[in-house]
């Protein structure tokens, strides 16, 4: 069975739960604001939640037709295990982790030149993109160019 069918099964259940939560929340918005439901801030979210419920139910029906619930769950778990062991997945996770490190830790706390230099040197070194000297040169060139163009010429604040 195609792995996409397993994904469809799992995501359709997730989307149905999301739509049910949204229906309740949209209804609550109507009560909070008062007045007719059609004029409340929850009107379109309610319509969208119903549409999401309908479309995800169609997706669930389609995936169930191609295999039993147990088959889908087992298929998804085995795909997940294989994914965790694959080299590409691990490299992607590592890449995402470094991007997250830059986004959530370095950029908000350090000056732009420092956070970006650490990020670029670290990422290119881990990926073995080039030699250390070239790595340092590229980083200096990129950080210097961005800093010079935005901060000094256009007076645009940098993160």
């Amino acid at each position: 069975m195609d792995k996409q069918t397993h994904f469809d099964f799992v995501t359709s259940i997730g989307l149905m739960i999301l739509s049910l939560v949204m229906i309740v929340d949209s209804y609550r918005m109507g009560i909070d604001v008062g007045g007719a439901l059609y004029a409340s801030p929850g009107m379109l979210p309610m319509v969208l939640a119903l549409l999401l419920l309908l479309t995800s139910a169609m997706l669930l029906r389609r995936s169930i037709r191609s295999g039993s619930v147990r088959q889908h769950l087992a298929g998804f778990v085995s795909w997940f295990n294989a994914f965790g062991k694959s080299l590409m997945a691990r490299e992607m996770m590592l890449g995402a982790l470094i991007l997250a490190l830059y986004t959530f830790l370095l950029a908000p706390r350090l000056p732009f030149w420092m956070s970006t230099s650490i990020f670029m040197i670290l990422l290119m070194a881990i990926l073995r993109a080039t030699s250390l000297v070239k790595n340092l040169l590229i980083t200096a060139l990129v950080v210097g160019s961005i800093y010079g163009i935005f901060q000094m010429i256009f007076h645009v604040p940098l993160p």
């Binding site: 996409q4 994904f7 469809d8 995501t11 989307l15 949204m22 929340d25 918005m29 909070d32 604001v33 007719a36 059609y38 004029a39 409340s40 801030p41 929850g42 009107m43 379109l44 979210p45 319509v47 969208l48 939640a49 549409l51 999401l52 479309t55 995800s56 169609m58 997706l59 389609r62 590409m88 490299e91 992607m92 890449g95 995402a96 991007l99 997250a100 830059y102 986004t103 959530f104 950029a107 908000p108 970006t116 990020f119 670029m120 990422l123 290119m124 990926l127 073995r128 993109a129 080039t130 590229i138 990129v142 961005i146 935005f150 256009f154 007076h155 645009v156 604040p157 940098l158 993160p159």
Partner: protein, 502 residues
């Protein structure tokens, strides 16, 4: 009156500062378009942030120029490396790469670039001719029509971009519409789905979402796949031979350009579909379809004229209805809003010269693109030899800077990452990202229009099905939904059953 606008904008464009901006932007677009993994949407989104502090005219000229450069630049890597620089050039690679392998890379690039220019100019002409009447028609739109237009846009975009699975396209569009509901609503200032987070109360800004959705997955895939790229050499341009090929393909160019414009007008569909459809139409009408895929110049001409004319097509609904015709046009729409412009039905009365401005920007950028692409093609293709493990960290830094500078908010950088992960999941599970983006763009319009319409009728939904324009949209939406439910298959079976009984 139009000639006055025309002369005014021409005077602005030929100023040294404007020319410099245009040349730099087209060059940036060509480079981005050439690099596999970096799309036109990402280029326009990135530049929206970076040009935020510039004057309206310069910023918009720059965005138009980068859009045209990026869509055109994709053909070079398609011909020389069999890797379309942008999805828009995928159809070009089918015949372009065999041309390159045959040792005619230079001629192939010349034909493709000239076809791109003709396509863009045809699109420009259509912007001038079609935007005013469409804007007049849009004045007849009320709240009912605008709500159904938003719904229709998301549905048709989902239908056409999801390949064989429109259901996933629709789900993606609905999710985009849901994301657009985050933040204070326009009528009661009620904080929807904000969970007490102040940054969420002001809503989800478009540019960080676009950068994340389209850029982040490419960056991450680029980081883990730094394989060496096989590349054929750029040979001489052979312009005389090239012009003969173009002359032979004049009807092909015209048909492909018109297909491109038509596809562009459909909300959210975009240049890749236009390229493929134009290619397919040319192959179908050819007396020698067997040569396609083996290095036929007809295929390259059709694909490039089609995808570039789509730019003009996609800009027409942006200007007349404030509905984007493609993903890069969606970013352009967001950029126009950022610069205080109000595209839509009132554009022609509020800023009557704006359509002429955009048309001149497009035409000048297309001409600049031809010269730049041909002059620097040998140098620019060298950029392709830079490995993605070096390029992608730089691109991510530019993405964060582009997202940050619009409102100087660190929260926008977080959004790039969060929506990047969402984009990655969408791609992994075969959900198209374009309807998601269109949903975010059209969500506020859908919300305000639906509630305004229902307040006007005290909750009576019947005008959605009785007003003429609404009825057209409602019928189209219902037909699309029924086709997905296989209602026509059941009907056919039922009719066949009845015939057998008789």
């Amino acid at each position: 009156m139009d000639s006055q606008y025309f002369l005014g904008v021409l005077h602005f464009v030929i100023q040294p500062a404007s020319l410099f901006t245009m040349v730099v932007s087209v060059f940036f677009g060509l480079v981005v378009g050439m690099l596999p993994g970096l799309t036109a949407t990402m280029a326009v989104a990135l530049l929206t942030g970076l040009t935020y502090k510039l004057s309206n005219e310069v910023a918009i000229l720059s965005l138009i120029a980068v859009y045209i450069g990026a869509i055109s630049g994709g053909c070079q890597s398609a011909i020389l490396m069999n890797i379309p620089g942008t999805p828009a050039s995928a159809a070009t690679a089918v015949d372009g790469f065999p041309i390159g392998q045959r040792g005619e890379g230079g001629l192939g690039i010349f034909v493709a670039t000239m076809s791109s220019c003709v396509g863009t100019l045809t699109g420009t002409l259509c912007v001038l001719l079609l935007t005013p009447p469409l804007a007049v028609l849009a004045l007849k739109f009320g709240a009912f029509e605008f709500f159904l237009l938003a719904l229709f846009g998301v549905m048709i975009c989902g239908q056409l971009t999801a390949g064989t699975d429109p259901l996933k396209g629709w789900i993606s569009g609905i999710l985009g519409l849901i994301v657009s509901q985050i933040g204070m609503d326009g009528m009661n200032a009620y904080p929807r789905f904000s969970f007490g987070v102040i940054d969420l109360m002001s809503g989800i800004p478009l540019i960080p979402v676009m950068i994340g959705l389209f850029g982040f997955p490419e960056i991450l895939y680029g980081l883990v796949s730094s394989t060496a790229r096989a590349q054929v050499k750029t040979t001489s341009l052979e312009m005389k031979k090239g012009f003969a090929i173009l002359l032979k393909n004049k009807l092909n160019m015209l048909r492909s350009s018109l297909i491109g414009v038509s596809i562009g007008i459909i909300p959210g569909v975009g240049e890749d579909v236009a390229g493929w459809l134009s290619y397919w139409a040319e192959k179908k009408s050819s007396k020698t379809p067997e040569i396609f895929g083996k290095g036929a110049y007809e295929g390259v001409v059709a694909a490039e004229a089609g995808n570039n004319s789509c730019i003009g097509g996609a800009i027409i609904p942006v200007l007349s209805l404030a509905v984007p015709g493609s993903a890069p046009a969606a970013v352009l729409l967001a950029a126009l809003w950022l610069h205080g412009l109000r595209p839509g039905p009132l554009l022609m009365s509020e800023t009557p010269g704006f359509v002429v401005d955009i048309s001149v920007y497009m035409a000048m950028s297309a001409i600049t693109m031809v010269f730049l692409a041909l002059i620097v093609s040998k140098a620019t293709v060298r950029i392709l030899s830079v490995t993605s493990t070096i390029l992608m960290p730089i691109v991510y830094v530019l993405c964060t800077v582009g997202a940050f500078v619009i409102s100087n908010s660190i929260f926008d950088i977080y959004l790039v990452f969060v929506f990047g992960v969402i984009g990655l999941l969408l791609r992994g599970m075969s959900y198209p990202a374009a309807p998601f983006l269109l949903g975010i763009i059209l969500g506020p319009m859908a919300d305000n229009s639906l509630r305004r319409a229902l307040i006007l009728t005290s909750g009576d939904p019947s005008p959605f099905f009785t007003r003429p324009i609404s009825l057209i949209f409602a019928s189209a939406i219902i037909l699309m939904a029924l086709s997905q439910l296989n209602a026509f298959g059941w009907l056919r079976k039922l009719l066949a059953h009845d015939e057998l009984k008789e």
